[in-house]
Symmetry: C2
Subunit: 433 residues, 2 copies
Amino acid sequence: MTMNVVSIDSLTKHPGESVTIRGWVYHLRAKGKLAFLVLRDGSGIAQCVFVKSEVDDATFDEAQRLSMESAIEITGEVRLDARAPGGAEIGVRAMKTYQKAAADFPIQPKEHGTGFLMENRHLWLRSRKPWACLRVRDAVIRSIRGFFYERGFVNIDSPIFTPAACEGTSTLFEVEYFDEKAYLTQSGQLYAEAAAMAFGKVFTFGPTFRAEKSKTRRHLTEFWMIEPEVAFAELNDIMDLAEAMLCHIVKSVLAERREELTILERDITKLEKIVPPFPRLSYTDAVDLLKQKGLPFEYGGDLGAPDETAIGENYDRPVMVHRYPHEVKAFYMKRDPQDSRFALCVDVLAPEGYGEIIGGSQREENLDILEGRIADHKLPREAFAWYLDLRRFGSVPHSGFGMGLERCVAWLTGVDHLRECIPFPRMLYRIYP
Amino acid sequence: MTMNVVSIDSLTKHPGESVTIRGWVYHLRAKGKLAFLVLRDGSGIAQCVFVKSEVDDATFDEAQRLSMESAIEITGEVRLDARAPGGAEIGVRAMKTYQKAAADFPIQPKEHGTGFLMENRHLWLRSRKPWACLRVRDAVIRSIRGFFYERGFVNIDSPIFTPAACEGTSTLFEVEYFDEKAYLTQSGQLYAEAAAMAFGKVFTFGPTFRAEKSKTRRHLTEFWMIEPEVAFAELNDIMDLAEAMLCHIVKSVLAERREELTILERDITKLEKIVPPFPRLSYTDAVDLLKQKGLPFEYGGDLGAPDETAIGENYDRPVMVHRYPHEVKAFYMKRDPQDSRFALCVDVLAPEGYGEIIGGSQREENLDILEGRIADHKLPREAFAWYLDLRRFGSVPHSGFGMGLERCVAWLTGVDHLRECIPFPRMLYRIYP
């Protein structure tokens, strides 16, 4: 007889059938002539019920002695049960053991310190919350890619090794590249600009690096970034694009990862409020708001994390703060033709205190102005020669933004620390496992 | 009147309509009272016809003086024409110039050396062949992701910074990671194995790095790799998976990127032959084949590039060579229980001389054997402690493979050199632009 091997998340499609599932012991409770074993297979968890009279004695005995995380195969009948996790349980007929796990599985159903859990990240991934959080991350990645593909964007990967820094060298990782020095990319933007002139609408989506010595819940040395760039788009166009993208992501996650959000104890009603239009505030309006709230803030400075939190908390959806003073923003941003004190830029601040998740701008397309900026910022002109070429040959208005994937996932899942939003986080003093 | 701004690839959906397109001058030919301007907008190219009597004089004059790559906006009527590139042309009514490009655009319709083209990669991307090749790459990425998502795989990104080497340190890039040393990943596999025990079926898809001093058409220092890993899968299962994935990719590219393949002068009939089943040869059979072909080859050694080419050329579809002598393969591969001289591994060789595009194996799941291997290979045990944990806690048969994205794209597009299959290639002596 061929086995009907199925995944746990599909059990409800097989009511009454004899199926085989394979996975790991997540929980076990024996009670006289009954044993209840919760099996996880990566797609979900299911309760498997052993009744002494329905399996052979050896199987019943073995089941009771299984250690947590032992690998087994179970064959039995699917019974729909609305109270069961996943909506179905298995009446066990047979079991096969692949491996009885060592008894000292480090992660137990008790409180562990985060340092300990991170040291065991390779095993902690099996627990419900990390599992749920990274499945949300997976859905966010898919949702973002789907969003851009539907709109005719082309995925153009920017390089990781770069010859020069986009925004100063203090937070760059340096690599010996044969006989030269190279740096690990902090942003694919400049390359995305080149690609936008060739493909019209592009996005890069890859890891970026920042040698930040700060050890906060908002920092990773390695994180993933999505960066769309659109030829002929102006600031308002990419603000619309960012708004539409975030709404699309939230909708996808609510549709595909509701169970995971529940495991994470996320208040789903808060996510259901994420619909357009998002409030749009000029920097000047944002500073007024901070003053109304009684926060000390000097007009002209960049918004710090506490300021972003205070502004974000004022709204039930992401807020777009646009037109910052140009002094606090990057050299490549175009100035506002209405008021040249400001840059045509936007930061999107997530609600509930999650702070900035997106930064974007319209790019300066004038060659002379851009050359002047590179000189003013004392950037190495030769490293930017190719970038300046984009302004010599068919320069057009263009705009784009970057979103930190893990920051978006942290907001959606409601977890506190970015390190839980990436499978194997890299931070100051953390490159293991 | 609001403008009806459309992309060139959608022109045939607007017959008879007045539309506006925005892009760059790709080609220009004036002939008395007519001017033919080919505009590219990143989505495609379209011929725009200026008739002196149908536009104002200033526009007609300006159009004739536009330099290549000048950025313009054209408004006019869409006329279907099967002979036109893309199937439609524009009868111009009005034009606006964003920027007249400098006259010295380096890439001209003549032969250039590859070194020169690579130095101008940021501009070369605008030419038809690079454009077509990278649009194929984009479709391959989407197709791969779609394939795995449909089958319930979860995208788990492996880290780029790693504490230790998977297969020796000679080709690793080293990074100063604060007070430690870190290395740039060569493969996400070990992390994918950890994730497979948590999520069942996973894939990683990101950049990987190899400090290869060799300067051949088959080497990049930075390339993208897709690596699925499946719990409870054995060698045959992942051979089936690799076969299905490749067929899916070819089908998607033929459906979505036929025009691009034509631009690349790819023989499409060769791709249409890529259907299951793929031939499967044991290493021993492969060596026999090499001997029949009169190639010098010593049984027991690894297959070199010329051997792979010779084997691949024997078939009209990818060939799967399995069960190599374990000495030439990685420490983590399981030995064949039928004959322990061999590893349970598979290399997939593309036809037409493109060589290896996929390498995979069933992984050794026994703790003691794996510990012995790590010792035999003199690998640092402490760096692999977490990896060994996977064999202590619920070890199961599992298998996976890795496919180099650019190698796959090179085969599909028929281009000779991997450097054309990635937007900004990184090689020995090449990190610019």
